[in-house]
């Protein structure tokens, strides 16, 4: 099970935080800080797996992370997930973001964090991997966005005939 998905930048500022188990707000912030602290100490050419987080899960808990330019993508998982599989999943997530935002950068994540949540919701649900096919994910996200736009379109221009 995936316990949490965190995206933060090189200074530890959170860009996305999704928890699949309930923690208090304070604990959530502590987890983000502790994860940043552990992950930022790592060199560039070491492996992508980290143990030793105290707050989530304890000894069964691993951090699987990837560092892209200014952002860390961290998945906190327990032993029921395949470590290499999650590593690939992070890659799929980033590629999907790239497709949806057209050459995604940190600013896109900052200003459209709700969209990122929507994309993530098509990939991971309830802490379990839902869909890994990028095209399928994008198709669904596009359909949802269209539905949302059509509502506001009506709202904005009530006189126009549909």
């Amino acid at each position: 099970m995936i316990k949490a998905i965190l995206i933060f930048n090189n200074h530890g500022k959170p860009r996305l935080s999704k928890f699949y188990e309930h923690y208090t707000e304070d604990t959530e912030q502590q987890i983000i800080r502790e994860t940043f602290h552990l992950v930022s100490k790592r060199d560039e050419n070491v492996c992508n797996f980290l143990e030793g987080g105290m707050l989530i899960g304890g000894s069964d808990n691993k951090l699987i992370y990837r560092h892209y330019a200014t952002l860390y993508f961290v998945f906190c998982v327990d032993s029921s997930e395949s470590e290499l599989g999650i590593l690939d999943l992070i890659q799929v997530f980033v590629e999907t973001l790239d497709k949806c935002f057209e050459n995604v950068c940190e600013l896109d994540l900052i200003f459209h964090v709700d969209k990122v949540h929507n994309i993530l919701a098509e990939m991971v649900m309830g802490g379990m991997v839902l869909e890994t096919n990028m095209n399928e994910i994008i198709t669904q996200v596009d359909a949802q966005n269209k539905m949302e736009k059509s509502e506001t379109f009506i709202f904005q221009s009530p006189r126009q005939d549909r």
Partner: protein, 694 residues
Amino acid sequence: MSPSVCLQEMIRVIRGARTQGEERGVIQRECAAIRAQFRQADSGGRSHNLAKLLYVHMLGYPAHFGQMECVRLIASSKYSEKRIGYLGAMMLLDEKQDASLLITNSIKNDLSHSSQHVQSLALCTLACMGSAEMCRDLAPEIERLLKASNSYIKKKAALCAVHIVRKIPELGEMFTPSAHSLLSEKNHGVLHGAVILITELCERNPDNLKQFRKSVPELVQIMKNLVTSGYSPEHNVAGISDPFLQVRILRLLRILGRNNDAASDAMNDLLAQVATNTDSSKTAGSAVLYETVLTIMDIRSESGLRVLAVNILGRFLLNNDRNIRYISMTSLQKIVQTDHTAVQRHRGTIVDCLKDQDASVKRRALELSLALVSAANIRSMMKELLLFLSTCPPELRSHAASGIFNAAERYAPSQRWHIDTILHVLVTAGGDVRDETVPNLIQLITAASELHCYTVHKLYRALISDIVQQSLVQVACWCIGEYGDLLLKGECEEITPMQVTEDDVLDALETVLQSHMSTPTSRGFALTAIMKLSTRITNNVDRIRSVVSIYGSCIDVELQQRAVEYNALFKKYDHMRYFTMSYCTVILEFGCRSRLSLVLGGRGLKAEHVSIIFDCKDNVYLYWFLLQSVQLQMKAPSGDLIPAQGCGTVTQTVLLSYTNKANLKMRVRLSYSSQGTACQDMVQIDSFPSPAWS
């Protein structure tokens, strides 16, 4: 104006804040505005207000006042409002809040909505934060959706069912028939969800195992199709067709084949095929290969296949990619208990990984190395482990130290080696060892009677070179107190002799007493050791007497108590002092307020139990403790044999919490056997030095 613009405006303002304080101010203003707007129930900007609140929540500011707004938005008929409402519910609500119950009805309605996107919102939220009651209410709906014609809904319903089974395992049987039929789907997303659901059902209930074993041929067929199909652009990841699904199926096969010959036979060929044909040059292939190896090792596979599997792991251990090395060690850890000899063959490579730069790889290597220690390789392994201990990252020290102690205890080839190893650990990482190391080591030293001379010499030398490591200091002080006479004699076969005078020893102990690096416990040990030496040395008893009386006015209360009591021994009980200090010392501490040092006589006897009776007005506290066992408040005694003619002592520390301090008398009864006869001894102390407690 799309909902996000207002959010973006706020984000821009927040980012413009130059200090943390400024940011807080901005956010407080925004939150106040949002709260006011929530109260107005203004239908225009509701969704972007909530979006702003969720952003603020991510940054760590309180957002609980948005909970009811989430409930309201979920009940709206507009998709955009529902969407943000459900997102808010997942972030702000949890089962402990009453608000979460209020959305149950909305979820129920949305599960039957005409639009699949609305249904999917409801499913997603239920899977994320559905409480047990919500799950119970909505389980029939989910079961119905599992049979829907829409694969998008089916796959989400499957994961939702997993969540329900986790919350209420008994509901599992509701989903079992549907789970079965989902395996014949073509859509990979649905298959994936189905496999996860079946895995969860099997792990929860062994009866399900029997049922789903019948599906093994079906699963094998699905795997075969994935492995042998040509290039399929839809599911291809680095040349492997849907590795995520393959990994899931392999895990399920592992659970189904465990301890079952028939199921294991059915999957044998498939596993051999995957193990030999999978291209592992990229992560995707390696992931599949590892799952295959773990499955082979866990089920009842043929021996040829097992050998193949362990060889694959061994090959990966030598891979340049650190990820692969890490994963191969994780896998080896899983099989080290069952296939110990196979893993032993790779011991050399694993021990080399102890020197890797990567802390994660080091950690795995440490775990595996500790698991591979055996009687045959203890000496060479311990060399490597001690070397590792001196250079390892601080977060691994404590674990390494305790692992080394365990290994030493199990496989020590000799007592001297054992003591040397523990001393080495204390010198290198004494600050990271557990508390019980000190009494355990004391016990060990006492038991190794022929090594007392060697041990006290070694500890003395360690003490005079460095007094930073407190556990080492404590053991050294204790040892010097006990065997100081051996130290002063100077001769010892196994160490180059060193002339030690009484002044040297007292200097060393006083250094510990006076150093600001010493903890109160260490000081206590040092003072007691000085006191014990008063019976073992001849020339410096006055020096000891003056040290003890100086500490009678020490600021540290614990130390003061001790000093005062020892002083009393010098003054009032001096006739007993030789008799008592040379025999069994029992130090009793009354909570944190008073302490009594009581010393008992022993004459070459084997003490079986000591009982202490406290009379205190009407209450009698009776404590029995066997010298071999550890009671709740009593630390382990250092041994159960008191040698004859004052050549040794047994120490047992007892901590008692005691509130009524008036008129305390104490009687100590010692039951023992001496030369085969059972005897009893009683000592009574009627009055205590009054500063003994406050």
